[in-house]
């Protein structure tokens, strides 16, 4: 049991094992952006309404603004930076689908949209339209892009292979 102001904890970030002192009073969002420099995860409303800060925690989309940094102990976290396959310059199929469908306008909501989409496709390989809408209900886009975004999710579902999803599957608990 740790009770330090900056407890040292173990977690996995984008597939890499970490052991770090994390600021106890910080949210995961702030920790990712201000300590680790991972600014792809966006800071929108900070109260769980907009989904711009969505990351995967043990394979499930969560609002990183509502997770305390010390709560990620032993968890596997994936951010948008980890989505692109390592080494290469290629994009992940979900990212390609968003570009293909013109589902990106200002781009602020896009990292969260992509992470939520990956979370959906991990659980449901062929979501129907209503499942897609429900899955993305927690991600707001203020540029009016929902139609293209739903199209992108459908295209992503058609394009992805198990290989594209495997990295995100680790540490997923059974319900």
């Amino acid at each position: 049991m740790s009770s330090d102001l900056t407890p040292k904890i173990k977690f996995r970030l984008n597939g890499i094992d970490m052991e770090k002192e994390v600021p106890a009073g910080w949210t995961l969002l702030r920790y990712l952006r201000e300590e680790l420099g991972l600014t792809g995860t966006k800071c929108g409303c900070e109260i769980g309404e907009c989904g711009a800060c969505t990351v995967l925690m043990n394979g499930k989309p969560v609002n990183s603004c509502l997770v305390m940094a010390p709560q990620i102990e032993n968890a596997s976290i994936w951010t948008i930076e980890g989505v692109t396959p390592p080494g290469g310059t290629a994009l992940h199929p979900v990212q390609k689908a968003f570009i293909e469908c013109d589902a990106v306008h200002c781009g602020f909501c896009t990292p969260g949209m992509v992470m939520t989409t990956i979370g959906l496709l991990l659980q449901n390989k062929k979501p129907d339209n209503s499942q897609i809408k429900q899955a993305l209900a927690g991600n707001l886009c203020r540029c009016t892009g929902y139609i293209q975004i739903f199209e992108a999710v459908r295209l992503a579902a058609a394009m992805i292979s198990e290989n594209d999803m495997r990295p995100f599957r680790e540490n997923i608990s059974e319900n």
Partner: protein
């Protein structure tokens, strides 16, 4: 928002020991608590007790007579639980309709109860399922029926040194529904919610339990409507009258989310829709 101390126990005994210090605030999913703390960024934060790694609180156990839900079970896990889908559909429907995917992946049933909001979506189902809460401290434990747990908006009988350690419901089949009304389907707090658990004897109502959310200082039972329905053969006239009676049992207020007059009307509408669906589905 700096200089916060967190405690991160790995078992229940450690957690209860830490909670013996009554200035410690327990955080489960954090989806209510962090929103509240965010709004008081300039004030000192309490010492936070993280329950993430206390595995004893994060499971469902089933016996012949009872289903025991660990307070750290998330809304998503409740939504996907095979046993709860079979035996507590009201609770599953409520868990599935709250927040967003991101919120449901973090929000816990214990947190929803402890938060004490009259609009907490899992609470009306737990009323009609006759849930019993187990409250534990380092010194021992006690049980409290869920209806005796809440004393006002955000107020409960949970002592500062206690944690909710189990939520027990009877292991039996039941019939009923949960319905809610909010500004949008996702990510909106309920303006009105209705949970019903109904036992039919052939075409007659043997008993009905009705709980109303967000229309009184706590979730309440609609006992006059329950009494009215007992022994009745359900038909449209009976449903309409029940919907009229239940409106008078609601004691709503005007607030940021809705108006009292609208809430009263909608309690009746939700009950009516639900009873119609129960009776047409057999």
């Amino acid at each position: 928002m700096n200089a916060v101390e967190t405690l991160n126990p790995t078992n229940l005994a450690q957690a209860l020991k830490a909670k013996a210090n009554k200035n410690v605030v327990a955080v489960a999913g954090g989806t209510d608590l962090l929103v509240r703390l965010h709004d008081r960024i300039t004030q000192p934060w309490p010492k936070l007790l993280i329950l993430e790694n206390v595995k004893e609180l994060h499971k469902i156990t089933v016996t012949k007579t009872a289903i025991t839900i660990g307070p750290s079970m998330t809304f998503s896990e409740i939504e996907n639980s095979a046993i709860l889908r079979k035996k507590a559909l009201q609770l599953v429907t409520a868990a599935a309709s709250a927040g967003s995917v991101q919120i449901r992946n973090r929000a816990t049933i214990g947190g929803n109860i402890a938060n004490g909001s009259p609009a907490g979506d899992t609470i009306p189902p737990l009323y009609v399922l006759e849930a019993i809460l187990e409250l534990s401290s380092a010194k021992g434990k006690r049980t409290v029926p869920i209806e005796k747990f809440f004393t006002g908006p955000g107020k409960t009988v949970l002592k500062p040194t206690e944690l909710i350690t189990a939520i027990k419901i009877p292991n039996r089949s039941n019939h009923g529904f949960f319905m809610r009304l909010a500004t949008r389907k996702a990510l909106a707090i309920s303006k009105v919610s209705v949970a019903v658990n109904i036992i039919m004897n052939k075409s007659k109502v043997e008993s009905a339990k009705i709980a109303l959310g967000a229309v009184a200082p706590t979730v309440i039972r609609a006992t006059l409507t329950e009494e009215y329905l007992r022994g009745k053969e359900i038909n449209q006239a009976i449903i309409d009258e029940a919907a009229r009676i239940v409106q008078d049992e609601a004691r709503p207020i005007d607030d940021i989310r809705s108006l009292a007059i609208y809430r009263k009307e909608m309690v009746g509408v939700l009950l009516k829709r639900g009873l119609e669906s129960v009776t047409t589905n057999g």
